[in-house]
Symmetry: C2
Amino acid sequence: MACRAKDPFKDLWALPGGFVGIEESLEECANRKLTEKTGAQNVYLEQLYSFGAINRDPRERVISVAYFSLVPFEKLTFEKQAATEKTQWYAIHQLPTLAFDHRQIIRAAHHRLVAKLEYSTVGLSLLPDAFTLSHVQDMYEIVSGKARDKRNFRKWLLGLNVIEETGGMQSDGAHRPAKLYRRKNPNETSLFR
Amino acid sequence: MACRAKDPFKDLWALPGGFVGIEESLEECANRKLTEKTGAQNVYLEQLYSFGAINRDPRERVISVAYFSLVPFEKLTFEKQAATEKTQWYAIHQLPTLAFDHRQIIRAAHHRLVAKLEYSTVGLSLLPDAFTLSHVQDMYEIVSGKARDKRNFRKWLLGLNVIEETGGMQSDGAHRPAKLYRRKNPNETSLFR
DNA sequence: GCAAAAGTGTTACGCGTACACCCATGG
DNA sequence: CCATGGGTGTACGCGTAACACTTTTGC
């Protein structure tokens, strides 16, 4: 989220965005904007939807082709911009009042992501290079808002044959260390079904 | 398909389309264009994808927000335009060479529709007000290119609870007449799962 | 009577779901 | 030793998939 410095919607938070250059594709533009704002590169990026209601920008007619990205937390370097532009992250269920129709856009993205968790493994793009099975389950539960059975979740996830053990372990705190896993093909979109 | 009278892609077939008016939403524009070309009204319409490659139109930069519609054959009155504009229908697997990136657009629409048949009942929008169970199965098999078991298909379809018998029968040819059905809520998008 | 499509049930298998206890570690 | 999260197997039920014969009609 970036805080708007000017009207309309001054001081409200808005999704990062911008105008498509004449010599870049929609996807290139989305990638460029993403990198400018967050530093993230080579991450999952998907076109979400195009929003074209007549008065969605009170100043003039604007049609927005929305994209969403799945970025591991580690790849974010948003501290850079913190000084110049006010940029901040919000949890999906603690959104402030947003500018334009950006709340609707976020709802659509969230909805899409929840659906995709069920039939694809793109969700793994949200995790770092090495992760524990509990990390994966936590991510699924947080995104979908739905608790899952640990044994069933692991059986399902391992059965997909898309992750493998790194051999490493992660110790954090007063409990048994967890095996670390990695994606077998980090660059595959890996749909299944 | 409309045949292009001018370059670029003169004499090739192209999807109907046009520019969004300043005072209409994307969906209104798609609906307007659809009605102009086919006469269809009040039909299922869904945004497909936005295509924005840099050189997809060799003349100038054009970004297209593609929509697709599901129209029962009976609602088409494309004879009207046949005189003025050359308009024609093609089967999905017998497409001629197309202008621009329109083949890619059709592939995307077909792919989306095949997927939707699995988890929604929008496909029924392609059928007339009254139809037989065999009509439904034929439509599913034609769209998805996949044969289905008659008993399983009927069990599944009737179990969805979205169609009901009209009471009428259809006799056509030297065989047992078939019961006619209709959608219970023709205007519901009726997702399930 | 014969060709052509309509209509109709049962069985088997696989997958998803429910469920509880021991293990390894840090403090 | 205790608190904390990691790790593991089985049984049941439901839904999907496989499968073949009778019925009604027009000619």
